[in-house]
Amino acid sequence: VSVEPTQMDVFRSLPLLTGLEPEAFRVLVVAAEQRIARTSEVIVQEGEVGNRFFILGRGSVLVLAGFGTERETPLATLKAPDIFGEMCLVESFQRSATIVTAEPVLLYTLTQAALKKFSEFYPQAYTLMVHKIALTLAGRLQKLDRAFAALSGA
């Protein structure tokens, strides 16, 4: 018998949210909006300004560059409980890829406005989250540096 993870289960499993004070954690759970999407639905469009942070509660999505063009390139597959768009915690930015559902998905989203308000009421929790995002970005940069080096040596 498989039991569907609850929103609380999903949020508790996110490394980004571990270590937050309980009240701050609860506020994020309450502030999150739910969205259900069908297969092949575009969730995020490359080039648009990102103002939402997404948490995959169920299902998987494809990350694609050049979606719908002859240069379409698959970059990654994200599966629950992966997250995307987390940089809207610190800035508005142009989405660098399109996200399309690979199957029916359940998403939780937090708007940039909600996160800004959250940062005012829970600055410590906000700093901890941004700190974790920065560490993740630094890790991805290191990996990319290595991939570049491998490509140059190939």
């Binding site: 610190v90 800035e91 660098s96 906000y126 941004v130 700190h131 570049f148 080096a149 490509l151």
Partner: protein
Amino acid sequence: MNQDLSPITEAQPLLQSHELFRGFSPATLTWLAKRAAFLDFPVGALVWEEGQVRDHLSVVVTGRVKVFRDYRQPARECLGEFGARDFFGEMTVLEQKTSSATVVAVDVTRLLTLRAAILQELAQEDAQDFSRLVANLARHLATRLRRLDRLFLEKTRAV
């Protein structure tokens, strides 16, 4: 390597106009400027060596440095080059770890440096400005990552 304590008059304008310290209160900028140090390096001097514990955030004031992996090996690899206003050692803000690269001055170089202990003290003294520093750093890393992602994609498409 010569080391002298920072005249605030030199450090403050640099900090004030630098992306990493954007949004800082004037009081915090003065606090940091008082604690910053300037280091001068001749051409060829090792600024930082692979395997050392990273304990400085450095901003290039003048000159240039190059970053190498396996610097002491014949097949050393240049990872990048930094000039005026660029910074390195930024991971000091996030975690204490050994450095994965060697930094060498390729020009007569002057650096403004902030020790890890000062940044930790900042977190205690002014949590809001420390939060700004982390957010500014995240923005910088995200910008670099997006640029490299694009370059990598172009390169892989070309292969």
